[in-house]
């Protein structure tokens, strides 16, 4: 609880300019920006999976030197291990940390229950729907009891309805467990709906061009007009940001489709 719990100063990667921002403990932050602007790169650095060329990342008061240590990540395509069952997937991180069998099982079942997957613990990933897979992936991250949860477009491979349902569930889970969340998405409504803060990144060499603080009380409703206004605002801003004509078209199409 010592104020700034995470700071980032980016490297000189071609597509990511030096970038700094801070996330308060327990805060839900979204990163939004055009494709290829470096959102995944940024998240990877926070996770400790990528090393910044310059600058540094600090999490929970310590500099990030590798993965793990209270941070967990959820990927766009779930990235479940196909040879393990749902339970096996959820237990994996605990096994990696040498948690004893009994405790492992118990914690995994608890996490699975949290995402409403207790009826399919023995299924393999290919026997699940896309939404179930993504929920398993979230359970796999939550079971680590992370203080920081990193999510890289976790819902973008899903259809609109499943997406809405999972957004709702994520809000519920977040309200229950209150981890710090850094959430990457293309979906402005999603970002506005879930977050305390939304950072807008620029295209090309990524950097933060605008920050929105969202004070709407939770639990929120996706149809809330305040959210729609906010989305409109962000959309305008994004349009202005995407300078290249071709990119703007693609971007607009993408956003309209949401």
């Amino acid at each position: 609880m010592d104020g700034a719990c995470k700071t980032y100063e980016g490297g000189d990667r071609p597509a990511l300019l030096p970038t700094s921002f801070t996330v308060e403990r327990g805060e839900f932050v979204s990163l939004v920006g055009p494709s290829g602007c470096g959102k995944s790169t940024l998240l990877g650095m926070i996770a400790g999976l990528l090393r910044p060329d310059a600058g540094f990342v600090e999490a929970l008061g310590r500099p990030v030197e590798g993965p793990g240590e209270g941070r967990a990540m959820v990927f766009q395509d779930a990235a479940l291990f196909p040879w393990l069952t749902v339970l096996g997937n959820v237990e994996y991180g605990l096994r990696a940390h040498g948690v004893a069998r009994a405790e492992r099982r118990e914690r995994a079942l608890e996490a699975v229950r949290l995402v409403h997957l207790d009826h399919v613990v023995d299924r393999h990933p290919h026997e699940l729907s896309g939404g179930m897979r993504q929920r398993a992936s979230i359970a796999r991250a939550l079971v680590m009891r992370p203080e920081i949860l990193l999510m890289d477009e976790p819902f973008s491979a899903l259809d609109a309805q499943t997406r809405t349902i999972l957004s709702d569930e994520l809000q519920r889970i977040w309200l229950e467990t209150r981890p710090t969340v850094v959430f990457v998405t293309h979906n402005l409504i999603e970002a506005a709906f879930l977050s305390d803060t939304v950072h807008l990144l620029s295209s090309g060499p990524g950097r933060i061009v605008r920050t929105y603080d969202i004070d709407i009380p939770r639990p929120r409703d996706e149809a809330d007009p305040a959210l729609l206004d906010l989305r409109h605002d962000m959309l305008e801003r994004l349009r202005a940001e995407v300078d290249d004509a071709a990119e703007r078209r693609a971007q607009v199409a993408e956003v309209v489709a949401l």
Binding site: G44, A47, G48, L49, P67, G68, R71, A72, M73, F75, Q76, D77, A79, L80, F81, P82, W83, L84, Y92, G93, R95, A96, H97, H124, P125, H126, E127, R140, M144
Partner: protein
């Protein structure tokens, strides 16, 4: 696409279906075996008509007769057993060694870049060329043959492992690392299972190379029991029926292995890994 059968009346439908099933099975059998039957027929005709010297091509009956004699009098099953044992042993050693080397060195670019070209180079050399070395190092006995078989399997397995490791989804690796897996735990619980589907294909390849190395070696090192020795015996005494009987045995073993072991293994792995749709 069974809607075509939907038109049949409900009464007698079962009988119709059963006879249809039998017919379909018969057609399926013919479809897969007409060429074999054709070969057998031509073979039989050619030998029965006396168009070829039986010294050069014995009749199918002669070969079967010889096979019977070999099975009863020479205890061909002992030779077969010895060969299969050597094959499985050498292959297993080669597989384990190749996969281990691949996994342990495939994670590091420096190790892989140094070792992989050497193995690729060695794979360009027929394993049998190393037999003289093996005989000098391990003696003129089964150990040399085993070593050659294992070595013949080792090279393609190591190369298959390297290849498979390059195809692991980077996201999967990231997911594992993000969950705190590292070092040997990562290799054992993530890298290895991730490459299993590719390895199954590699296993068959390795088996094929193992057979080749083993047969070539057994033909030279004929001391102990083994199909290679019988093959060489057939050649030495000019008994082509013996040679063909042995080929027949290897053929049957090969097809049985493929159907009963590898095809099943592949199906099981593909199901378990959720690759059914992908193939």
């Amino acid at each position: 696409m069974s809607t075509a059968a939907g038109g049949a009346g409900a009464a007698g439908g079962r009988a119709v279906r059963a006879s249809r099933g039998a017919r379909a099975a018969a057609i399926g059998f013919l479809r897969r075996s007409w060429f074999v039957l054709l070969i057998l027929l031509v073979w039989w005709l050619v030998t029965a008509a006396g168009w070829v010297d039986p010294y050069k091509l014995p009749s199918p009956g002669d070969v079967l007769g010889t096979l019977g004699t070999l099975l009863t009098e020479r205890a061909l099953l002992v030779d077969l057993g010895a060969t299969l044992l050597r094959l499985v042993e050498g292959w297993a050693i080669g597989v384990v060694a190749g996969v281990l080397l691949g996994i342990l060195t495939g994670g590091s670019r420096v190790l892989e870049d140094g070792i992989r070209p050497v193995i690729a180079g060695l794979q360009a050399v027929p394993t049998i060329a190393f037999l003289p070395l093996a005989i000098l190092w391990f003696g003129f006995n089964g150990t040399a043959v085993l070593a050659i078989t294992a070595f013949g399997t080792f090279k393609p397995m190591a190369l298959a492992t390297y290849g498979a490791m390059h195809q692991i989804s980077p996201t999967l690796l990231m997911a594992g690392r993000a969950l705190g897996a590292r070092g040997l735990f990562l290799q054992r619980t993530l890298v290895f299972p991730a490459i299993v589907p590719s390895l199954v294909t590699g296993l068959k390849m390795g088996w094929s190379f193992a057979w080749r190395a083993l047969m070539a070696a057994e033909i030279v090192v004929t001391g102990a029991a083994g199909l290679g020795g019988v093959l060489e015996l057939g050649r030495e005494i000019g008994a082509i029926d013996v040679v063909m009987a042995v080929i027949l045995v290897i053929l049957v073993v090969g097809i049985a292995t493929e159907q009963l072991v590898f095809a099943r293994l592949e199906r099981w792995v593909n199901r378990r890994w959720g690759l059914v749709g992908a193939r």
